[in-house]
């Protein structure tokens, strides 16, 4: 039975060529696959040519063959369907299963049968998008700034009180240790230590609770205001109604003398100072822009920037003038189809973040995320998906490749559901220049070794990961993407001039290849690719890369459309 299900359509066609008399001139008999016949007329022409058949037969042969092919095809499909139906007749329990599958399919593909989707989640984004492209934009940004200050104040208060407590603890402890054997027994000391730890924990938790409460309240208030303000504006001909109740409410909030506690009452200039210690060190140290054309006949123009900067420079939010303009831009394009993203190299451990991820978390938490879930909640979801993925991988590998896979498992530690080359994506609305962050999993330490020059090739998992990142970027309207050119966020002693050049060349070449591939997917859309080199790279190396880039991307005449704007290293 299964055999006949696989009917491949092969048949034998027979035809007798006759003239008026009864005696046949020729008997035709040839194999034919009814599922693959492209054009009956052409087939007939071929047969007639091959067998030297007189032309008056053509019409008859055409009709005969056409009917034959049509009938056989129909029968074939009918038979296959009959077999399937027979299966159901033989085993009526299948009905449930089939019904499930069909119902599911309809649910997932037909608007009419899909479960009703509440418009609620779309309400806030739509209102926000509307406001940010309207005169209300200013107000929105001011409001965000206010909220930002409040969070900043909370964080600095937290820092202070934790430091104070820490100092007090240290004092207590040192006193206790000095007096061990007199007033205090060792047991007392350990009790004290436990108490102190508990105190610190409590204090931590207290501030974390405060932080969560504040941000949640801010978010709720903000979302609510945005939706209502948008409604108010729509009602008054898309103009800002200065006397509208919602507008007044917002104004009251902005007026910090009478503002509620959700909004900081401090002078904003103070906040800048408290934060400047973090931001001041890294801006763009050196940069160069290129315009390239890719494509054989139809060329698509792309911008490529070579930048020496700290990766998180593109994330940090501050009140600096130029930054604010960037922030506007980012806010306005949040719900557009021109998104910005960066790629961060991250390690396999999702639970405890270290290095750049830790810094990144600090940046994210320095203001409230109004549009998406918090970074923590997003990573929690990622964890679930990663687990699901590794389970699926487990299942599919159960038969073959088991050995190889087992080795992989051994390499993984307890939390390691992530593999090199995997990546997760987090969404953000409170960063200065990016909406999306690709966290590309890699062993950054190994990527920095001398040996990595030979081991990291175009087939390396991290490079494959980059390919998928560009693919997601192309299918999800990401127009600006920032990539660590050396696949590393910092320079170590092992990294030499030669190393930089070779690694950069590899990454550029691969990215170029992926960009060409992307063109077949999205029909050639202009993009900006930003290659970032960690600060501390020598000017000599940067110069060399400036010359390597146009060679790799084969730009000739159109180089440097934007005037070269170079800042010399400040250190």
């Amino acid at each position: 039975m299964a055999g006949s299900l696989l009917d491949n359509g092969a048949r034998v066609f027979e035809y007798v060529v006759t003239t008026g008399s009864n005696k046949p001139i020729q008997e035709l008999r040839f194999p034919i696959n009814v599922l693959e016949v492209f054009d009956v007329k052409e087939l007939v022409a071929r047969v007639m040519n091959y067998h030297d058949i007189p032309c008056f037969v053509e019409t008859g042969l055409n009709n005969k063959l056409k009917n034959f092919v049509d009938n056989e095809r129909q029968n074939l499909h009918d038979d296959q369907a009959a077999l399937l139906l027979q299966k159901i007749r033989d085993d009526p329990t299948l009905i449930d299963h089939v019904a499930d599958v069909v119902a599911e399919k309809y649910k997932n593909t037909w608007q009419e049968y899909a479960p009703p989707i509440s418009t609620q989640p779309n309400n806030f984004p739509l209102s926000y998008h509307y406001l940010i492209h309207s005169p209300a934009m200013q107000i929105l940004m001011q409001l965000e700034k206010k909220y930002h200050s409040a969070v900043a104040k909370l964080l600095s208060d937290k820092e202070q009180s934790l430091t104070k407590m820490c100092e007090r603890h240290r004092g207590e402890m040192s006193r206790a240790c000095d007096h061990v054997g007199f007033e205090y027994t060792t047991e007392d000391v350990s009790i004290l230590a436990t108490k102190q730890l508990a105190d610190t924990d409590r204090m931590q938790k207290h501030w974390e609770d405060n932080y969560r409460r504040l941000t949640e309240e801010q978010k709720q208030e903000y979302c609510d205001l945005v939706i209502r303000l948008a409604e108010e504006m729509k009602q008054s001909d898309n103009k800002l109604n200065e006397n509208g109740p919602v507008h007044n409410e917002v104004q009251r909030l902005l007026d910090h003398n009478r503002g509620r506690s959700l909004v900081s009452t401090r002078d904003p200039s103070e906040d800048v100072e408290s934060e400047s210690s973090v931001t001041v060190s890294c801006g763009i140290l050196m940069e160069e822009s290129f315009t390239i054309n890719l494509g054989a006949q139809l060329k698509t123009m792309h911008n490529i920037r070579l930048v020496v900067a700290d990766m998180l420079y593109f994330c940090r939010y501050s009140d600096d003038g130029e930054m604010e303009a960037q922030r506007f831009q980012t806010a306005m394009s949040l719900y557009s189809n021109s998104l910005s993203a960066i790629v961060l190299i991250t390690d396999k451990n999702l639970n405890e973040c270290s290095g750049i991820e830790k810094e990144f978390r600090t940046v994210c938490e320095s203001s409230t995320e109004f549009h998406f879930e918090t970074l923590q909640d997003q990573t929690t979801k990622v964890k679930e998906h990663a687990l699901e993925a590794s389970e699926r991988r487990n299942r599919s590998l159960s038969s073959e490749e088991t050995i190889e896979y087992k080795q992989n498992i051994d390499e993984m530690d307890g939390t390691g559901t992530l593999n090199e080359g995997d990546f997760y994506i987090t969404k953000h609305s409170n960063l200065s220049q990016v909406h999306l962050v690709f966290h590309l999993v890699a062993e950054e330490n190994q990527l920095r070794t001398k040996a990595s020059l030979t081991t990291v090739t175009s087939r390396h998992s991290v490079i494959l990961g980059l390919r998928h990142i560009l693919k997601v970027a192309s299918s999800h309207d990401i127009r600006h993407i920032t990539i660590p050119l050396l696949l590393s966020h910092e320079l170590t002693e092992e990294i030499t001039f030669q190393w930089c050049v070779k690694r950069a060349e590899l990454v550029m070449k691969c990215i170029k290849g992926f960009m060409m591939e992307m063109a077949t997917w999205d029909g050639g859309i202009s993009r900006t690719i930003q290659f970032v080199i960690p600060p501390g790279v020598s000017e000599e190396a940067f110069d060399r890369l400036r010359y390597t880039l146009p060679e790799v991307f084969r730009t000739t005449s159109t180089r440097n459309l934007t005037p070269a704007h170079r800042k010399l290293p400040t250190r």
Partner: protein, 793 residues
């Protein structure tokens, strides 16, 4: 008849796995592109009971837009639902029109779209529902609905199914009434509700059955759709819906925006997956409701088009041009002088051009002369495929010829074709579809089989792509046009051994460059950047490998009007556009520059190439390997359109010289007959030759006779200047004398045997003198015919 409206159905094709690539190592073709290719064929379906498809577009995020006619009053939806039948008001004049029928074909039987498909069974159910005026199993959720249907499997006969189903209607015995209409419905049901597919009738079988008792079915009138006639002429009535659609776009319609406006889209940032594995599996994708299938149509109103087409006394001659009425004043449009790109987007202008060309094409070949004449102004993109085949003199029963070419049997070239086709003009979404790949392969093979003496050279695919793209639904025409095109412009280029042909072509090209731009020629020769290094793909593909399709069509619009030497002029024009960069570049930079040609302004190239063409003496591009006979015996329309290579030869004509000798030449040769004509040595002629500004003015030609003064005195060309040349003789003085005359053509005349003219010409070129050429055969060739005179002292 005009459709009341145009409508657009849009849907998002099924997503492809991120982690796979094709067997040839190239990325997988997105499903939307596959659909786009498959859908094209639907445009060719025309039937009075069908809403024709007019266009398909592929938008962002794998969304397909299918535009078709839409008749508001009497449309039937292929996606069966009772509402698609009941809401309409039927009367005896209405012609039922089926819409949405292409979904099955364009999605490859539903594999490219997770969507619905309707069949005879569905039709029967709808009929039952209509008959009972009641929905079968209302409020039953999908799962139980499927179960109930599957339970019917147990029933062997349609009769039994009908009985079971009827039990669920309020009125159970309706089907047993003897009313004729009900009886014919019953026939349909009995044929269509069989579980067993081999017994279930196909639609045509049901129709056949019903035909027997025709009386029961109201006979639809043939001409159903009536537009209200208010006394005015309505040009829309005479247009095919694809023309209406074309004009709709020109009138400022933006279909994609209009459709998307009604679709609430989830912003991209929210559709992002949250986790992606190394293998490209996506996790955490949120469903976007707009990606679900919705069978509705977005109506596209024709009001703007209709109002802009309103006929009045001013535009009537433009919309209804009269070709045979010989009015001395040519009816032309005011936009005719605007740049081509503006003209192509000008609604009124295109209405006029299309109307004109439609008539010209109907009158072809009788109106061929006129077609040529109009083509010199421009060719409307809407008719380009047909116009080109007209200009290329495609004739005969090409469909029959094409069918009889065996394109199936494997040949050696198949492998190369299979490699090249998926890399050919793939930025074009239509050409990157599997259907297009198939068409390209077939047309290529057909050409190879029909030209057994020729062979496949890489680049033929690019040539072919242009014609396939233009004649997507007409392979025979693509094949025939390609054949004619190659025969005219690429004669012998596709021989197995084509080196002599290409060598000659490139030499002639290089000489033509020296004629028009001696400075550039000298620079490029000096650094060794010879045409062999860059121009072979230009000419072998007639620039089809170099430019994107939208530029090629404009280039070829003009190319097709020129003779077989015109491509050489295009080559010169391209070099001249890059002149500044080339003059500054050394060999390596030139190689880099040409390995990936920078953006070229094609309009500029077209204009420049016409100029180059007009200023070159026609014998200067003489080639031994050019086609020597013209198939059609058409009178050339002017001095320029005639092909020197096909003209009858006399003793004064240019003759072949060995390739080795041609290589030593530095500039082009002019034939004696050309010289006589240019210099009006045998009396004035009225044609506008390169050396003349207007028809009546005197030709600007300067003849330098480099023979010794003794020889010169004995007999020379009237008006020639004697400059007995010996090596290293300074020529600065001479250049001054020549420049004073501002000649268009400078002819160097020497003796046939001794060739000091080459050295002399090189000197002239180095001095930057434009328009230098040598008299082919020297002075001796003119001796027998008596044009030489003794110069008066």
């Amino acid at each position: 008849a005009m459709p009341a409206l145009l409508g657009c159905m849009s849907f998002v094709t099924a997503a492809l796995p991120h982690n796979q690539c094709g067997s040839n190592g190239l990325p997988l073709t997105p499903n939307s592109i596959k659909v786009l290719g498959l859908a094209q064929k639907l445009k060719t379906l025309k039937h009075e009971n069908l809403c024709s498809y007019v266009d398909f577009k592929c938008g962002r995020h794998e969304r397909i837009f299918a535009v078709s006619e839409l008749y508001v009053d009497n449309v039937l939806d292929r996606i069966m639902a009772p509402s698609s039948l009941t809401q309409k008001e039927w009367n005896e004049f209405s012609v039922p029109k089926l819409s949405g029928y292409g979904l099955h074909h364009m999605t490859d039987g539903g594999t490219l779209l997770n969507g619905p498909l309707a069949d005879v069974w569905a039709l029967c159910i709808v009929l039952m529902e209509l008959l009972h005026k009641e929905v079968l199993w209302p409020d039953v959720e999908n799962k139980s609905l499927v179960k109930r249907v599957l339970c019917l499997c147990a029933n062997k006969s349609a009769q039994k199914n009908i009985e079971v189903l009827c039990q669920d209607f309020k009125e159970k015995n309706l089907l047993y009434e003897t009313d004729q209409a009900i009886q014919s419905i019953k026939t349909i049901l009995e044929n269509g509700l069989c579980v067993n597919l081999s017994k279930r009738a196909m639609p045509y079988q049901i129709l056949k059955q019903l035909d027997k008792d025709k009386s029961s079915v109201p006979n639809p009138t043939t001409n159903g759709y009536k537009i209200e006639y208010n006394g005015n002429t309505n040009p829309l009535l005479e247009m095919d819906s694809d023309e209406v659609w074309y004009l709709w776009n020109l009138a400022g319609g933006d279909m994609i925006a209009e459709v998307l406006r009604s679709v609430t889209t989830t912003p991209s940032v929210r559709t992002m997956p949250s986790f992606v594995t190394l293998h490209g599996d996506l996790y955490g994708l949120e469903p976007s409701p707009e990606n679900l299938f919705n069978p509705g149509f977005q109506l596209l109103s024709l009001d703007t088009v209709e109002s802009r087409l309103e006929v009045n006394s001013e535009n009537i001659s433009l919309i209804y041009p009269l070709l045979e009425l010989d009015t001395s004043e040519e009816v032309s449009h005011e936009s005719a002088k605007l740049p081509l790109l503006i003209r192509e987007n000008d609604f009124d202008y295109q209405v006029h051009r299309i109307a004109l060309y439609k008539r010209l094409l109907l009158g072809y070949p009788y109106l061929r002369e006129k077609l040529w004449k109009e083509s010199r102004i421009d060719i409307p993109p809407f008719c380009r495929g047909k116009v080109w085949s007209g200009l290329l003199d495609v004739q005969g029963d090409i469909e029959d010829q094409y069918v009889h070419i065996d394109k199936d049997t494997p040949i050696i070239t198949d492998r190369q074709i299979a490699v090249d086709v998926p890399r050919c003009h793939q930025y074009d979404s239509m050409l990157s579809s599997p259907i297009a790949h198939g068409k390209l392969k077939r047309v290529l093979k057909a050409w190879l089989i029909s030209h057994p003496q020729l062979t496949y050279w890489q680049g033929l695919d690019s040539l072919c792509a242009v014609f396939v793209h233009l004649n997507f639904n007409d392979e025979p025409r693509a094949w025939a046009s390609l054949s004619q095109f190659i025969d005219k412009y690429l004669h012998k280029f596709f021989l197995k051994d084509n080196s002599a042909i290409i060598q000659e072509y490139l030499l002639v090209f290089s000489h033509l460059l020296s004629f028009h731009d001696p400075m550039l020629y000298c620079h490029m020769t000096e650094i060794g950047f010879i045409p062999d290094l860059y121009a072979i793909p230009w000419f072998l593909t007639m620039f089809a490998h170099v430019f994107p399709l939208h530029k090629i069509v404009h280039l070829w619009d003009t190319l097709l009007l020129g003779n077989s030497s015109f491509p050489l002029c295009i080559g010169v024009a391209i070099l001249q556009q890059l002149r500044g960069q080339l003059l500054e570049s050394d060999f390596n930079e030139c190689i880099l520059l040409f390995s990936d040609l920078p953006e070229i302004d094609i309009d500029g190239v077209v204009k420049k190439s016409i100029q180059v063409f007009c200023q070159s003496p026609k014998s200067s591009t003489f080639r031994v390997h050019a086609r020597t006979e013209e198939k059609s015996k058409r009178e050339p329309t002017s001095y320029y359109t005639e092909d020197y290579n096909t003209l009858p030869k006399t003793e004064l004509s240019e003759t072949a010289i060995p390739l080795s000798e041609l290589k030593q030449e530095v500039c082009c040769r002019i034939s004696a007959d050309d010289l006589i004509q240019l210099g009006e040595l045998q009396g004035a002629n009225n044609s506008k030759t390169p050396a003349k500004l207007t028809k009546s003015s005197k030709p600007r030609i300067f003849v330098i006779d480099i023979r010794s003064s003794d020889e010169f005195v004995r007999g020379s060309i009237p008006g020639s200047y004697n400059f007995p040349y010996i090596t290293d003789k300074p020529i600065a003085q001479l250049i001054q004398t020549v420049l004073k005359q501002k000649p268009k053509v400078v002819v160097v005349v020497g003796n046939k045997g001794s060739r000091e003219d080459r050295e002399f010409c090189l000197e002239l070129l180095k001095a930057g003198l434009i328009g230098v050429c040598v008299l082919h055969g020297g002075i001796d060739i003119l001796k027998p015919i008596g044009v030489l005179t003794v110069p008066s002292q």
